[in-house]
Symmetry: C2
Subunit: 112 residues, 2 copies
């Protein structure tokens, strides 16, 4: 899971996932096209995404095709982010209370 979070920390890598989301199965050259960095830099990013299991590759002749694997993203949502999501509404209320009356002044502006 750590690999996934680390992979998502970089905006270039998130952009690559976005591109694959729009059009799956692109080659390194395809994905490099239009990016302001070198092909090698893109290749390194894709390698990191592959290690995080967010992208799977398939060789077709001399072309390395990249396929998005959304499973690890679902995993982190369900296994980690989800719990915060569930507590979101409750936490918001509780949060406001704690911020607004850190000391026990709950009767102060009762009638204002």
């Amino acid at each position: 899971m750590s690999d996934v979070f680390a992979a998502l920390a970089d905006s270039t890598r998130r952009a690559l996932l976005d591109r694959l989301f729009v059009k799956n199965g692109q080659s390194l050259s395809d994905l490099h096209h239009g990016m302001a960095i070198s092909r090698q830099a893109v290749a390194k990013h894709l390698q990191i995404l592959e290690t995080a299991n967010l992208v799977s590759i398939h060789w077709q002749g001399r072309e390395k095709l990249h396929y998005l694997n959304p499973v690890p993203l679902g995993d982190i949502v369900h296994r980690w982010l989800g719990k915060f999501e569930d507590a979101r509404i409750e936490a918001l209320t509780e949060f406001k209370e704690q911020i607004e009356k850190p000391q026990n002044q709950k009767e102060e502006k009762r009638r204002a």
Copy 2:
């Protein structure tokens, strides 16, 4: 949003969020307690979480209390991760197809 992803990339920071999830409103010393790194290191991590708006602070005397703010987590789930989540089932099917018959060999083992 980039700040949030960067903040989540570090496992110590995720552990701090976990701790605040269990018990909200802890001080720096509280959060430092039991961690294998220095108080200053913890303080830096908390500063990063604060900048990402994942944690809000409230001073109570000499104690700096930390409160979890789950809103940015919900935002990244809904505004970014969500689209992959939605496409998860569909992508899985499509993905398997593309991987398993990259060339057009679909009649090969039809009766095996």
